[in-house]
Subunit: 133 residues, 3 copies
């Protein structure tokens, strides 16, 4: 049986429920839905990077990257990104930030972007599926 | 070519469209979106476990588990759960039920929770991605 | 390290952001969220197949199929379809079109259907996960 391991970057607070920020099993690395929380400070509640789409998108992408890195992986391993926004009007700005963040990725992951509800104050959530070796 | 097999627990009625409740191909087992339908009774239409989030969440998790079990798998094989709720106000209660249900899972799956529309009367839908050997 | 390749059917215009219409890595082929855009015409902006659910659903499924085919894959390789609709009232009609389109698939993929917001004029979006050999 392939081993299953949780991936928990030191920057990440404990999740709000019984799930893992990342899970590796076999050749699959799944990154849980990340939001724009700043690196965790022990003893303090989660803190959103800021109220703007820009601040939250950049922090969210950094949080996805932290999980990948903790698993010894990177953007080149990611096959799919799921981007959840709350407002169609945010699409263009998110894309500009996204494109800049992933500018150096030789083969960009596939992606689906849909518009959903998120907890109050959150404008973006992103998860990622990676395939390792 | 790796064989592809449908996974259909005896508790499950035929899906409302041409999809499988579970599919195994290669090392991947995908569980389709499950909702709070009680075990199927031949000749009767699907019946929701009840109007409450509690009833539906527990039945939905049991339905995911049935598909896993029918494929010879279990929670330890699941790398990702996608939880769809209709109301942000349901997050805390769903989490409490979810945490209790998965209390004995050594490495909890990753998870993404978003708020969407669902057919009338349904409060929660969950699908799962598992990696087998 | 398993090679990662982008899958871009000749029918598809460049994506609106830094993502790939399809990505193959290891045994996984991920198809990005497809919508009802007609085959691209060089020098012209993307054009939706039509305003109706029928037109968009059929074009969207054809676009998913194009990505699969470009990767040398087909519906028999797909384990999961994610269908995003904007209106619960569209479920029955989408199902009828979907069932006819996939009528010859021996083992239908698993599926999750949820109701979300999409960019103006789009009624359906579909992505797909396939497992190859």
């Amino acid at each position: 049986m392939s081993e299953k391991t949780a991936v928990t970057p030191p920057t990440h607070a404990a999740p709000p429920a019984r799930f893992s920020h990342g899970v590796r099993k076999g050749n699959v690395l799944q990154v849980a839905g990340q939001v724009g929380f700043r690196p965790a400070v022990p003893g303090q509640p989660p803190s959103v990077a800021g109220p703007t789409l820009r601040e939250q998108t950049l922090q969210t992408l950094a949080n996805v990257e932290s999980v990948l890195a903790e698993a010894g992986a990177g953007w080149d391993d990611v096959v799919m990104m799921r981007v959840y926004l709350t407002d169609v009007a945010h699409f263009a700005e998110m894309n500009a930030l996204y494109d800049a963040y992933l500018a150096d990725v030789a083969v960009p992951p596939a992606r689906t972007t849909v518009y959903v509800g998120l907890p109050e104050g959150l404008l973006v959530e992103i998860d990622a599926l990676a395939v390792l070796d």
